[in-house]
Amino acid sequence: MVRVKQRYFLVEIIPSVSQRPLLGELHSSVNERSILRSVRESVEEIHGDFGVGATQAGFTIKMFNSKTSVFVLRVRRGPHVLVASALSFVRKIGIMSLTLKTLHLSGTIRSCLKFLQQYDRQQLIHVLRHHQLSQDQKEKIHESMLKSEQKISGETELREEY
């Protein structure tokens, strides 16, 4: 049996201007199920019964981070084109009105998450620059960044030992 190939969409949820929370989280009605439902409705609207039938096999959300409003959507390789076009037409998930921004499309979850790491680092810089933070919060962020750097350097030291 030839290998079944998938495509993984890395998508960011951008709430509409009126509802944009300030460093906040998404509404509780936005979860894996409701995201799948609204993407499926969008595919039905744009590509009809054929679109829904072609894309529903292996149509799942592999990762959803409600804090950074990012999710990874898995689709089979041929029909992923239909989902790609339908993603831009999603206007509403649950109660929230929003738009979806496709950050990355790849053949493995791994490369999606790798891209996400770089993207998150850039976003962090952006967030720190544009938001007023109290001294307390700044210290906490500084600490956690030092910790994560130590962790990485600690790991590299271990590897050098071996």
Binding site: E45, I46, H47, G48, D49, F50, G51
Partner: protein
């Protein structure tokens, strides 16, 4: 999705001797922009079922609706013309771009009901030029 080279023309024929439906298939190297399709909307009158009167605008509507149902907005954007229509037979010649052949034909296949009555689209012929279509059904 590979591109087909050379277009297929099909002509549907009923073999009276053996009572089987045959398709005569020919392949052309030159690809025309437009294809023409000879279709009949069949309510089963030969078997005794009664159909409903369908005028040309309703005929177009039926095809557009089935395209939209099966293929969504992408299907609804498929352009086709009804070159000839005969209300008596419910037989029409459609003109469409050859890239839309598969979508159009499959949505005609999927159309099973009109105005509460069971029906089917019988595709008599698909060809690349109007000259191939036998116009005696439309006089």
């Amino acid at each position: 999705m590979s591109r087909r080279r050379g277009k297929v023309c099909k002509q549907r024929k009923l073999n009276i001797r053996t009572l089987t439906l045959e398709y005569k298939r020919s392949k052309r190297k030159v690809i025309n922009e437009y294809n023409y399709m000879d279709v009949t909307l069949d309510f089963g009158e030969e078997l005794g079922y009664r159909g409903i009167p369908v005028d040309s605008s309703m005929f177009v509507n039926i095809i557009e609706n089935s395209l939209k149902l099966l293929f969504g907005e992408v299907g609804a954007s498929i352009v086709f013309d009804v070159v000839k229509y005969r209300e008596k037979n419910r037989r029409a010649i459609l003109r469409f771009y050859e890239r839309d052949l598969v979508k159009l034909w499959s949505s005609l296949t999927m159309c099973s009901e009109v105005g509460g009555k069971v029906c089917a689209f019988r595709v008599n012929k698909v060809s690349q030029s109007m000259a191939d279509e036998s116009l005696r059904y439309f006089q």
